[in-house]
């Protein structure tokens, strides 16, 4: 049946909205399922067990440290990518973003090849200094930082590309050294995006599982972060697993909502 132009434009938005609603349902239903199965009455008891508190404490400490590592190393990297022109730049950027697409377990395996006891660098750490990164809390921080850093780098690189570099030039004519320019002009001007990047990296670090269990192992109090505790609990007590999952979800959701979409990396 032939339709006039005016009428053919209307169906599209309806289909769009229907698909959007479907997408939202797809994402919401697991959350709702979780909330419905949560043993609300036992929640306090489940969350105050040693396993739970240790896992939560470890998760928070390691994720914060991982976010710090990602920031301290990621900001300079983002700066170089945004400001310097060099051959192989696209390849470097691809490598930097690799942890975003790699399955986390693969990430863990690659970390072992580099930092394990027989690893490229790890062997010297072990043979010369007796430092063993796998099975240590430091190993957890490394695994988490590995997967979290790309988020920070993309966000900050995007922000750096968007600010007007002439402000930095103006600062230099006023006597500011490149270091002063960075800390008093560049970073403050991208502060909103920088913060968004850090928070995003932290949230990612908090939720990391595959790389952690493969590289750092699983031991309560040392390397058993909240996601690992959930996995272990799943085999024994579904209720405990659900309770711990709820904690993770609550923390992540709070963080992401507070970001208000800033981590998309464009406007500060």
């Amino acid at each position: 049946m032939k339709r006039t132009t005016a009428r053919t434009t209307t169906p599209a938005p309806r289909l769009l909205i229907a698909l959007a609603a479907l997408a939202l349902a797809f994402l919401l239903l697991p959350l709702i399922g979780l909330l419905l199965e949560t043993p609300w009455a036992q929640l306090p008891a489940l969350l105050t067990t040693t396993t739970a508190t240790e896992a939560l404490r470890l998760s928070i400490i390691t994720s914060l440290l991982a976010a710090a590592v990602a920031t301290i190393l990621g900001v300079p990297l983002a700066w170089v990518l945004a400001r310097k022109e060099f051959t192989g730049q696209r390849l470097v950027r691809g490598i930097v973003l690799l942890p975003l697409v790699l399955p986390p377990v693969v990430g863990g395996v690659t970390l072992l090849t580099a930092f394990g006891r027989r690893g490229l660098v790890g062997q010297y750490l072990y043979d010369w200094f007796g430092i063993q990164l796998p099975f240590s809390t430091a190993g957890v921080v490394m695994a988490e930082a590995f997967v979290a850093m790309p988020f920070l780098v993309i966000t900050v690189e995007g922000a750096l590309r968007n600010i007007d570099t002439r402000y930095e030039q103006a600062a230099r004519t006023l006597g500011a050294s490149p270091r002063t320019v960075l800390f008093r002009i560049t970073l403050p001007m991208i502060s909103a995006s920088l913060l968004a990047g850090i928070v995003l990296a932290w949230a990612r670090a908090l939720g990391e599982f595959g790389a952690t269990i493969t590289f750092a192992g699983n031991f309560p109090g040392v390397t058993q972060t909240l996601p690992l505790a959930v996995y272990s609990a799943l085999e024994v007590s579904r209720d405990e697993a659900i309770a711990l999952s709820l904690v993770l979800l609550a923390v992540s959701l709070t963080v992401l909502v507070s970001l208000r979409g800033r981590f998309l990396g464009s406007r500060s």
Binding site: D164, R166, Y167, Q169, A170, A171, R172, T173, L174, G175, A176, S177, P178, T180, R184, I185, P188, M189, S191
Partner: protein
């Protein structure tokens, strides 16, 4: 205190080879069309761009000399710069902006270069706690100036200082800036494409066209004796090159002009449009140049009318709108024009 710059460099396909100098207390205007390389020269002096050859000296010490491998980065040159868009740091207040230059340099607290001096001198006391986006154009310009001066620079560079202002503010700020620059004890270089800015603010003008200096001289001289078409057009006069013998200039484009000059050889004749009178009949009088011609165009120009006359040499007359109406001047019309010999400024080419 003084700046000497010989800049030889290349940006893409564009090459610059120019020299300029600003002595203590002197304001030099770098005048030229857009794309002439003026901003590049200024940035080279500030150290934001490195030159390929030549030498830039501040107080006789080289800050950029490729031949000897000398390059002093901008933060150590102590040259203050005011940018076209002011570039006030948006995340800082006016007070913080002005104080910015002080901290990194760790200068001894000196009464003469105290931030406060400039804050008072430029009347910024009431604006100190505002953010740049809360300032008007004129206010922002003063803050930018104070910020550059608070570092006690050895020279001041201004990049199109009035370009970002609206017409009304330009007038006032131009006047204030003139007074300030006259009192400024160091050399200053200002870049502009507006002839009025150069004429009002500068002691000397350096004309830069296509990367080359085409004319240098005291303001008055350059203004009355332009040597290039660009400058002539800018100043609203017409230029005619030719060969002068016995007071008669044979123009390159054809035709002759009778001028009262003893100069012989290659010359440039400068004629102000206002000096040409138009008549419906052949005039009788002292004017030595009288000729019959056709009107090719009539245009309004500010509050005057510009009447282009067929040559050679092609001349433009400036008359009042009333005259145009009275004489019924229109394109295609035959008309008589007269020009006094004494109204033609002739100088050697």
């Amino acid at each position: 205190m003084s700046v000497t710059a010989r800049v030889i460099t290349r940006i893409g396909d564009f090459a610059i080879d120019a020299q300029l100098e600003a002595r203590p207390g002197e304001t030099v205007a770098l005048l030229g069309p857009n794309g002439a390389g003026k901003s590049t020269m200024l940035k080279a002096i500030a150290g934001l761009v490195a030159i390929e050859d030549g030498c830039i000296r501040i107080d006789s010490a080289a800050v950029d000399e490729p031949a000897s491998g000398t390059f002093i980065p901008p933060e150590h040159r102590r040259v203050g710069m005011v940018f076209q868009d002011y570039l006030l740091f948006p995340h800082m207040t006016v007070r913080q902006n002005i104080a910015f230059g002080r901290k990194p340099r760790k200068m001894p607290a000196d009464k003469n270069n105290d931030d406060d001096t400039w804050i008072h001198a430029l009347d910024l006391t009431d604006l100190l706690d505002r953010k740049p986006d809360q300032l008007s154009g004129g206010q922002a310009q003063r803050v930018a100036l104070a910020r550059a001066l608070a570092t006690n620079p050895r020279a001041l560079l201004l990049d199109e200082p009035l370009a970002a202002l609206d017409a009304a503010t330009k007038q006032t700020v131009r006047g204030e800036l003139r007074q300030f620059l006259q009192r400024f004890e160091h050399g200053s270089i200002l870049v502009t494409h507006e002839p009025l800015d150069a004429l009002v603010l500068a002691d000397r003008i350096v004309v830069l066209e296509d990367g080359r200096v085409t004319q240098v001289g005291p303001t008055a001289e350059v203004a009355s004796q332009p040597r290039t078409d660009y400058l002539a057009a800018l100043l609203g006069v017409t230029l005619h090159r030719g060969l002068a013998t016995d007071g008669v200039v044979a123009c390159e484009t054809g035709g002759t002009l009778i001028a009262s000059t003893s100069i012989t050889g290659s010359v440039i004749a400068v004629i102000r449009p206002q000096a040409i009178s138009l008549h419906t009949h052949k005039p009788e009088g002292s004017a030595r140049n009288v000729w019959r011609t056709t009107v090719t165009a009539v245009e309004a120009h500010h509050d005057q009318m510009r009447v282009t006359l067929a040559g050679p040499p092609q001349l433009t007359a400036a008359v009042t709108p009333a005259a145009v109406a009275e004489l019924g001047i229109a394109p295609g019309q035959q008309i008589w024009a007269s020009l006094k010999a004494t109204d033609i400024a002739v100088h050697p080419a």
